[in-house]
Amino acid sequence: MTLSGGSIIAIKYKGGVMMTADTLLSFGRMARYRGFSRIRSFGDNTLISFTGDHADFTTLMEEMEKEIEHDVQQDDGVVLNASEIHTLLTRILYHHRSDMKPKWTYLIVAGSDKDGKSFLGYIDLYGTHFECDYTATGYAEDLALPMIRREWNPEITEDQAAALLQKCVKVCVARDCKQSSDIQFAKVSETGTSLSRPVKIDCDWSVASYKEIE
């Protein structure tokens, strides 16, 4: 058994991409480390977040750092955008699965593409990859995606996006036993990336029926 991270939810909004993840690393069903940031900002305009094996993700990021360092040494002014980082990570993950040594992670990459348009991409341990307007991994795939499909549209504002994510996370906290209520929000837009400090989602447990039985 290893340390693993839970759900991620990410959506595009008018002017950027917003993403949310809890700050828990689980060891099986034990809540092993709290306060761990599963969203990483990469370069100055890309966010990468993971569900799955923490050690594999760390190794992947080391591989990526090497690639970036190689790029920097070229000294040609080329900086990878989120779309390119998404492709690079896809190739790395597909390579490892073809080697029969998969990196057990589901990744969400957010940022912008070469034209400066918002980018949101998904990759899994097999190398399955695609671009999308919204996506979720882990239990949030079942819990949050239907809610997003119902409410999302391309004109959604930043505030509306934040409210939607908040609503989705609340359901995840209530239903996913491995979801922590300490949540991080992150966004990436023209002005760069920003990562919030962990915030507490307060769920109203007074509605729970065990209160009645007491």
Partner: protein, 210 residues
Amino acid sequence: MGEFSPYVDNGGTTLAIAGPDFVVIAGDTRLSTGYSILSRDVSKLFKYSDSIVMASSGMQADIAELRKQLLFTIEEYRVDNERDIELDAFYRLLATVLYGKRFFPYYSFNILAGISKEGKGVVYSYDAIGSADARTYGAAGSGQELVISILDAALKRKPDPLSIDEAIELGKSALKQATEREIHTGDSGEMYIIRAGRPAEYITFKLRKD
């Protein structure tokens, strides 16, 4: 712990129908694993030239890799021969690339559609390891059995030659029928209509999203 399986089935259905001087090739755009839909908008069609389109279903990651390998090779062909690759050569190329991975196959089921040197519409149908033959129509993927039955009934003993409008409607309707009964197929459909001496035309159509 069980051994890691490097394969996933991402589902989806593709088909192609050839006529005297045209060919249509279509597929749905759903990407799924098991019971969950990963995306409703991932293409199974890939256009290599004005008259060569490949439709692939199976494992999306393997298909992406296969397309990339083919693109490398046809670019090399273009540089070496100073002309674009033609359908008969591409047919052999795809078979060879697939068989080259005989002992760790690409999990992909491909249909190739194009116009032959004689100006006739041709469909080639492949298995995962490159066994292929020329047909007048074909289907592949998770809705293969449903689609092929519909195409058999419509085309096998058809007395008069197939018109292009008939082929387009048959292709669309066969995919729609598969979507009714097969959960890995749906969301939206796309189709290339390839006529002799003309660049391929691209159309999309709606499918059930449930």
